[in-house]
C-alpha cells in the first residue's frame, strides 16, 4: 500500500505534536499533582518551625537550613576547583592527549550514579577521615558530583570570549594571568554563573549521596561538623516510613518551587549572556 506524501506529512506532524504535548502534559501533571497536595499544607509556621514527632507535625525549618548550608558549602568548594580547571584547560594548555583525558575524566565523573558517590563519601569522608555524618562530608561529596558541570559550563563560557580580547591584552603588555583575570573571566562570568546555578539546582535535589554522608539529624545545625537533614532526605524519610503524607507533599512543594526558581533565574542569566554576545 502506498500512502501519498501529503498524508504522511500530516501523520508525521500529528505524531510530533503528540509527543511534544505528552512531554508537556507529564510535567504539568507532576507539578499540579504535587503542588495540589502540598500547597494547602504550607504556611509560615510550616516554613519556620521545628518538626515534631519525627516530622508528623510541625515544620521543616531545620531541613531548609540544612539544604542551604549543604548546597552553599558544596558550591564554595566546587567553584574554585571547577573554574580553575576550566581556565587551566582552555588558557594554559594546548589541545592534546592530556587535556582530552582530563575532559574525558570529568565527563565520566558526571556519569557516575549518585549512590556510588554516597558510598564513596561515606567510606572516605565519614569513616576514614572521621568527619562523621556532617555538612562537611556531605558538601565535599556533593562538590565532587557537581564539579563536571561547573568545569564544562565554565569551559564553554571561557571559550566564547572573543580571541581578539586576549590579543589586545597581550599587545598591551599583560601577562597571561592578567589577561585571564582582568579580561577573560569578567567576560565569561555570566556563563560561569549559569553553570553554578545549575549545580545549585542539582545539589538541592540530591538525596542518595546525602543520606550516606550528611546523615538525617532533625536539629538545626550550628557548625560544619553537625549532621543535617536536607529537604529531599526529609521527604524521602517521611514518605518511606509512612510518617505523614501531608508533610511529605508540603516538603516536596517547597523543594520543587525552589528548584523551579533557580532554573528560571539561570535561564534568565543565560539569555542575558547570549544577548550581550550577539550585540
Amino acid at each position: 500500500m502506498i500512502i501519498r506524501p501529503k498524508y504522511t506529512q500530516v501523520l508525521a506532524v500529528s505524531l510530533l505534536v503528540l509527543a511534544t504535548l505528552a512531554t508537556l502534559a507529564i510535567l504539568v501533571f507532576i507539578i499540579v499533582f504535587v503542588l495540589g497536595k502540598g500547597l494547602p499544607n504550607i504556611n509560615a509556621e510550616f516554613l519556620f518551625s521545628n518538626p515534631e514527632d519525627m516530622g508528623r507535625a510541625g515544620g521543616i525549618f531545620p531541613t531548609i537550613v540544612g539544604t542551604v548550608a549543604l548546597t552553599l558549602t558544596a558550591i564554595c568548594i566546587a567553584t574554585p576547583f571547577g573554574v580553575g580547571t576550566a581556565v587551566f584547560l582552555t588558557e594554559y594548555t594546548r589541545e592534546s592527549r592530556i587535556t582530552r583525558i582530563i575532559r574525558f575524566g570529568a565527563d565520566c565523573l558526571a556519569g557516575i550514579p549518585s549512590i556510588i558517590f554516597g558510598l564513596f563519601g561515606f567510606i572516605f569522608f565519614v569513616t576514614y577521615l572521621r568527619m562523621g555524618w556532617s555538612i562537611l562530608s556531605g558538601s565535599l561529596t556533593l562538590a565532587f558530583m557537581i564539579l563536571p558541570t561547573i568545569i564544562r559550563t565554565s569551559e564553554e563560557a571561557i571559550k566564547s570570549v572573543p580571541y581578539s580580547y586576549r590579543e589586545v591584552s597581550f599587545s598591551l603588555g599583560a601577562t597571561l594571568w592578567q589577561t585571564v583575570y582582568k579580561v577573560v573571566l569578567p567576560n565569561a562570568l555570566p556563563g560561569i554563573l549559569t553553570g553554578v546555578m545549575l549545580s545549585v539546582g542539582r545539589s538541592i535535589g540530591e538525596t542518595a549521596a546525602i543520606i550516606f554522608t550528611a546523615g538525617s539529624s532533625l536539629r538545626t545545625p550550628h557548625s560544619l561538623f553537625d549532621s543535617v537533614r536536607t529537604m529531599s532526605v526529609h521527604f524521602y524519610i517521611l514518605a518511606r516510613e509512612g510518617l505523614s503524607n501531608e508533610k511529605a507533599y508540603a516538603t516536596a512543594t517547597v523543594l520543587i518551587v525552589s528548584i523551579l526558581m533557580i532554573n528560571l533565574s539561570s535561564y534568565w542569566l543565560m539569555n542575558r549572556f547570549i544577548l550581550r554576545k550577539t550585540k
Partner: protein
C-alpha cells in the same frame, strides 16, 4: 648609529609553510612605513614579528633577527611584556573591552600596576586628547566603550595604546572596518602621531599607503620585493612585480 628597527634575514614558518622568506627591513626614526601587497603575502605576519604576537600561534618557527634599538628581540633573555609595551599594536577590527571608556584607556596602566588615581586620570585624559577624542568623550568616560560608534571605537583603541607610551605603533589594516570619513580622521591622526612615534602600517589600500607613508615596502609571497621611499615606489618602481601591482595589473 643603531636604527630603531632593523630586521635581518627573517624567516618564518607556519609548520611547513614558509611565510616569510629572508626579509630585511630597516626603520629609522619617526617615520610612517607602509607595507603593501596582495592578500597572504605575509605583510601582517611581518608586522606581528615586531611585537612577537606570532609567538601565540601554534606551530610558528622563526629564524633571523629583529633588532629594536640595537637589541635582538628574539634573544632568550628578552622581556616579552616590556617589549609589547614598547611596541604597541592597533588591530583590524576595533576591539575595545566590554568596559567603560576610561577603563579601556587605563587598561595598560592597570596591567603595569599603576595605583595613583590622579595620575591615571591624567594619562587617560592626555591619551584621549592625543587620539582626538577628549572633546567628544569627556562627558562619556563612564559609558560602555562598546556603545560608541565604530570610528570612535578604533580611535579609543589607539588612545588605549598611547596610554602605555609605546615607541613603535604597529597598525594592522586599521581602517578596513571604517568608512572613508572615519578613515580620513585616522590618517590625519597618524600624521599627527608621527611626530612622536614610529608607525608601521599594513594596508590593503594602495592610495592610503601613498597618502600617509614616507617609506613603503611591497611584499609578495613572503618576500620583500622592494623597500624604498613611498614616492619612488609609486612613481619609479625598480622591480617589474612592484610596477605590476601598483598599476593594478594584479592583486
Amino acid at each position: 648609529m643603531t636604527h630603531k628597527i632593523d630586521i635581518k634575514n627573517l624567516n618564518l614558518y607556519y609548520d611547513e609553510f614558509h611565510a616569510l622568506k629572508s626579509v630585511n627591513m630597516v626603520v629609522g626614526e619617526k617615520n610612517i612605513i607602509a607595507l603593501i601587497g596582495p592578500s597572504g603575502c605575509g605583510k601582517s605576519t611581518l608586522l606581528r614579528t615586531i611585537n612577537r604576537m606570532n609567538d601565540l600561534i601554534e606551530g610558528v618557527r622563526i629564524t633571523g633577527e629583529v633588532f629594536l634599538d640595537g637589541n635582538n628581540i628574539y634573544d632568550p633573555g628578552m622581556d616579552l611584556y616590556e617589549l609589547r609595551k614598547r611596541v604597541g599594536m592597533v588591530f583590524q577590527r576595533p576591539n575595545p573591552f566590554a568596559k567603560s571608556v576610561s577603563e579601556n584607556v587605563a587598561f595598560g596602566l592597570r596591567v603595569a600596576q599603576f595605583k595613583n588615581k590622579k595620575k591615571i586620570a591624567e594619562i587617560v585624559e592626555r591619551s584621549l586628547r592625543a587620539a582626538g577624542l577628549w572633546d567628544e568623550l569627556k562627558d562619556k568616560l563612564n559609558r560602555p566603550a562598546l556603545d560608541l560608534p565604530l570610528y570612535q571605537q578604533q580611535r579609543l583603541c589607539i588612545a588605549r595604546l598611547l596610554a602605555v607610551e609605546p615607541e613603535v605603533i604597529l597598525m594592522d589594516e586599521p581602517c578596513s572596518a571604517l568608512d572613508p570619513i572615519a578613515t580620513m580622521k585616522i590618517e590625519e591622526m597618524m600624521v599627527e602621531l608621527k611626530r612622536n612615534y614610529n608607525i608601521i602600517i599594513v594596508t590593503h589600500n594602495m592610495q592610503q599607503a601613498a597618502r600617509v607613508s614616507d617609506l613603503c615596502g611591497y611584499m609578495l609571497l613572503g618576500e620583500m620585493i622592494e623597500f624604498n621611499k613611498t614616492s619612488e615606489i609609486f612613481t619609479n618602481p625598480r622591480d617589474k612585480r612592484t610596477q605590476d601591482y601598483i598599476t593594478g595589473r594584479f592583486g
